[in-house]
Symmetry: C2
Subunit: 373 residues, 2 copies
C-alpha cells in the first residue's frame, strides 16, 4: 500500500481543508483570548498551559463537532466554546500521556515536561541538578494538564452562560465528558501501559482495538454527541441524530487511531512532528505490530521481540523492523481495517438530512485515513 500525499490525491479536498481551516482559526482565536490566558500564573504555568495551542495541532475534533452542529441544522457560532473545550480537553490528555509515555517530542517541539526540564530558567533554578530539573518538568506538566482540564470544563459552562443553550443540555454534556468519556480515556491509557508489558502474542486483535477505541474513539464519539445535542438544543443524547453522529465519529476515531499507528511506522517524521519508530521503541501494542507478529515465522518473531520495547534499539534495527512489518503485509491489513471503519461510519450519515454539512462529514471521514499528518 502506498499513502497518497494530499497534494497528489485525485479527489479535490481543498474545499474541506478550507472549511477545517476556517474553524481552526475561530477556535484558536477563541482559546487565546487574554481573558483566559491571563488566568494562568505564575509565568511558567501560563507558558505550559498555552504552548501546545501556539504550536498548531490538527484540530480535527473541534472541526468535526462544528460540522455535526450544522448537520442537524444548528448554529455553529453557538458551539464555539464547546469546540474549544474539546480541543483543550484533548490537549490535557496529551500532556499527561506524554509524561506517562516519556515522549520528548510533539508537534515538532518538545513535550511540556521536556520543555520545562530543558528550559534555561529551570536549569538555573536547580543549578544544574539534572534529576531535580527533570522532576520540575514533570511537575509543571502535571499541573498544566490539570489547569487545562478545568479550563475545558469551564468553556462548556459558557454554552449556557454565554450562548443561551438550555442548561440541562450543558449539565448533561459536562457530566458525560467528565465521567463516561474521561473514565474511558483513562482506562484506555492504563491498558496501553499494562499491555506493553505482556507478551504480544497473548493479546487478541479485539483487545487491542478495544484499547485503541477507548484511548481515541470515546472523545471523537463525544464530538458527535455534543455537536448534535447543541445543534438540536436537547439533553436527549439518545436522539436518533445524536446516536448516528456519535457512531459516525466513534468509527472515524478508531480509523484515525489506526492511521496514526500506520504513520508512526511509515510516516514522514517532519510532517508528523514526532520521531517515526517511537511506538516500536516504546513497545506499543498496536494492531499493526500484532498482525505482523501473527504472520511472522520463528526467526522473524525472535527479531521482533528483541526490538519491540527496546528503548535503546539502534536506528538500523528500527528500520529493519519497519521493513519487516511492511513485507508481512501488516500495513496493508491495517489500512484495510481502517477503511472498513470509515465505510461503516459513512453509512451512519445516510439517516441525516442531505446538506453541505453532511457532505463535509463524508469528506472529513475520508481524510481520517488519507491524511499523512
Amino acid at each position: 500500500m502506498k499513502l497518497i500525499p494530499l497534494e497528489r490525491q485525485t479527489k479535490d479536498v481543498s474545499g474541506l481543508f478550507q472549511e477545517i481551516e476556517k474553524r481552526v482559526k475561530v477556535v484558536q482565536d477563541y482559546v487565546m483570548q487574554p481573558e483566559y490566558v491571563s488566568r494562568f500564573e505564575p509565568e511558567d504555568m501560563r507558558e505550559a498551559v498555552t504552548c501546545y495551542f501556539a504550536s498548531g495541532g490538527k484540530r480535527l475534533r473541534p472541526a468535526v463537532m462544528l460540522f455535526c452542529v450544522g448537520a442537524v441544522g444548528g448554529d455553529e457560532s453557538k458551539a464555539i466554546s464547546a469546540a474549544a473545550a474539546v480541543e483543550i480537553f484533548h490537549t490535557w490528555t496529551l500532556v499527561h500521556d506524554d509524561i506517562i509515555d516519556r515522549d520528548t517530542t510533539r508537534r515538532n517541539g518538545p513535550t511540556v515536561h521536556e520543555r520545562f526540564y530543558r528550559k534555561p530558567s529551570t536549569q538555573q533554578l536547580y543549578r544544574g541538578n539534572d534529576a531535580e530539573a527533570r522532576h520540575y518538568g514533570v511537575s509543571v506538566a502535571v499541573l498544566a494538564g490539570d489547569v487545562q482540564h478545568g479550563w475545558g470544563i469551564s468553556l462548556m459552562t459558557e454554552l449556557t452562560t454565554k450562548y443561551g443553550l438550555d442548561a440541562a443540555v450543558t449539565l448533561k454534556l459536562i457530566d458525560t465528558l467528565d465521567t463516561r468519556v474521561l473514565c474511558t480515556l483513562v482506562e484506555g491509557e492504563m491498558l496501553d501501559v499494562q499491555y506493553s508489558q505482556v507478551p504480544i502474542e497473548s493479546l487478541t486483535s479485539e483487545q487491542i482495538l478495544t484499547m485503541l477505541w477507548k484511548k481515541t474513539g470515546a472523545l471523537f464519539e463525544f464530538c458527535g454527541t455534543t455537536g448534535a445535542a447543541i445543534g438540536l438544543n436537547t439533553p436527549d443524547l439518545e436522539h436518533p441524530f445524536a446516536l448516528k453522529l456519535a457512531r459516525f465519529c466513534s468509527a472515524c476515531g478508531t480509523a484515525f487511531q489506526l492511521q496514526d499507528d500506520i504513520l508512526g511506522i511509515v510516516g514522514n517524521q517532519e510532517v508528523l512532528g514526532k520521531p517515526v519508530g517511537s511506538d516500536i521503541r516504546e513497545g506499543k501494542r498496536t494492531a499493526i505490530v500484532r498482525e505482523a507478529y501473527a504472520r511472522a515465522d520463528k526467526e522473524q518473531r525472535k527479531f521482533m521481540l528483541g526490538t519491540l520495547g527496546n528503548a535503546h534499539a539502534e536506528s538500523v534495527r528500527i528500520e529493519q523492523m519497519i521493513q519487516l512489518v511492511r513485507d508481512l503485509g501488516a500495513i496493508e491489513y491495517t489500512a484495510n481495517l481502517a477503511r472498513n471503519y470509515i465505510n461503516e461510519a459513512v453509512e451512519y450519515l445516510d439517516g441525516l438530512p442531505p446538506t453541505s454539512y453532511r457532505d463535509l462529514l463524508a469528506e472529513w471521514a475520508d481524510l481520517m485515513i488519507s491524511r499523512e499528518f
Copy 2:
C-alpha cells in the same frame, strides 16, 4: 506554647465532633456508592481512585460547607453531592501534589504513586525493574487524580440534576471551581515548588502567607461560597451572606494551613499520619521556618541552611532543627498568627442569623487551630 490534646481541652467539643462525624459518614457513604465506584477500570484504577477515601481523612471541607448551607437557612440534604465533590476535588490535588513533593506517606499509608510502585502486581509486571515500577506508580497516580477531578465536577452537576438546584447556580459554581479556585491552587503549588529553591531570607512573610492561602485558603473559601449559594439557591456569589461565609472560610483556611505547618514540626507522627520533619527535609518555605530564620543568629542560620531541603538529613539533625525553631519562639509566633486569622474569621459570623449552625461554625473555627490531627 503547648497544644492541648482534644481529650484534655477545657471546652467541650464533643458536640461539634458528633456533628462533623455525622456529615463525614453521609459524605463517605455517598462517595462510595457502587454506581460511582464501578465506573473506574481497570482494577488498579479503581483502587487508586478510591483508596484515599477508604483510609479516612479529616473531611473538614465537606463539614464546613454543610454547616454554611444550614447557616443561611438552606437544606443540607440537597448539598451532599457538592460536599462530596469538594472532598474529591481536594483529594485529587493531594494525589498530584504528593507526586510533585515526592511524599511517600499520607494518612498512615503509602501515597498513591508509592502504593502502586510497591504493589506486588506492579513488581511482577515489571519483573523487578525498579525504575519502571516507580514510573508505573507515578502514571497511575497522575491518571487517578485526573479521574477524581472529573468525578468531583460530575458530582457538582447533580446539584441540579438530582437535587433541583437552579442550573444557573450549579453552572456558576462549576465555572468558579474549575477556573478561579483551580488556577489559584495550582499557582500556590507552583510557588511552593519554586520558593523551595530560592534563599529563605529572600522571601517576605507576605509572600509565604499568600502562597499558603493560594494552596489552601482558596478551596476553603469556595466551601463558604458554595454552602451559601446552595442554601440560598442563588448564583449571586456576591450575596452578603455568601461573601461573609467565603471570608470566614478563607481566613479559617489560612489558619488551618498554619496549624498544619506547626503540626509538621511539633505534631505526633501517628496522629498526623505522616512523618514529622518531612517539611524540613523537603525545604518547604513555611511561615514558621521563615520566622525562625529571621530571629536566628549567624551560627544558627548556618545550621538551618544546612538542614532545610537536605533530603538526607539525619534524624538527630532534624530534631535539633525542631528544637531550634521552638527555642526561637517561631512556633508561638505562628500559633498567634493563626489565632488572629480565627479571630478575624469569627467576626464575619456576626452578620449571620443566630442559629445553632452559626455556633457550630464558630466552634469549627476554633478547631482549626486546636486540632492535633
